[in-house]
Subunit: 154 residues, 2 copies
């Protein structure tokens, strides 16, 4: 029993010793990953916005497809804001506050994921008014986080 317990402990220690940053070989990879996810999210959020603003015809299926991608993408960037990317030399709009006020950043990222879930649910109602309302709420979540944690100029 003692040996078994030790083995479990050792295995747990190995898992716990693997920081999130070990998911990326280099900090630059983490930056590229999160920028990619945010960019795809922006593209599809923009497509929904074109429909809700009347710049593009409302296409219920396309709205659901885009909302699904937005919801999936909204889960990805956050583990890639690893501490070793704070001082990375590649171009990034990440503000130091991401790490100095990480609790707020985490709250904002969770708020976004809540909103994108609601956006997808709204898209699935096939009702443009529902989509408009959810698009506006999701946009507020984007903006709130950008205001605090993203540099204005690239």
């Amino acid at each position: 029993m003692k040996i078994a317990a030790s083995l479990v402990f050792a295995a747990t220690a190995i898992v716990m010793a693997t920081p999130a940053s070990a998911q990326f070989a280099k900090p630059e990879d983490a930056v590229k990953y999160r920028q990619s996810a945010l960019s795809i999210m922006g593209t599809h959020f923009g497509r929904i916005g074109a429909m809700t603003s009347g710049k593009a015809p409302y296409d219920a299926k396309a709205a659901v497809d885009s909302a699904q991608i937005v919801a999936t993408m909204s889960r990805l960037p956050w583990p890639a804001f690893t501490a070793d990317t704070e001082k990375v030399t590649v171009q990034t709009r990440a503000k130091p506050e991401i790490w100095t006020n990480n609790a707020k950043f985490k709250d904002d990222s969770e708020q976004l994921q809540n909103e994108t879930g609601k956006l997808l649910a709204a898209a699935q109602t096939n009702n443009l008014d529902n989509l408009k309302a959810a698009f506006a709420s999701t946009g507020k979540a984007c903006k709130s986080c950008h205001d605090d944690f993203r540099k204005d100029v690239k």
Copy 2:
């Protein structure tokens, strides 16, 4: 009836007159979009590969999560290989054969999507051997398309 039919025709014409490239404001946006999707796909395919090769411990949930992202990403890049990106000046590894042999490129992209669907199903069995087999098949689909349609050096 005549009016209604004309309206339907007009609406159809508007939809058909919107080329896929209209999804992107600039060809460079299409390149960024497809590169982002392929990059995220590569990251998560690599995480599964680390598990199947024994470089990382097998984590059934993480494998499913990554396979889901791979499957989702595998659907995205193709509409972004718009004709107006063939001569784009930003860095791209896209070969001209994408447009000169587009039927084969389309077949390859569909083959990949089939394989990533199977990869996800394999991950969901929570069986490492199934995952290994599906990872190998998916990798072949990646390689086959890269051999024909991706430049070797970035």
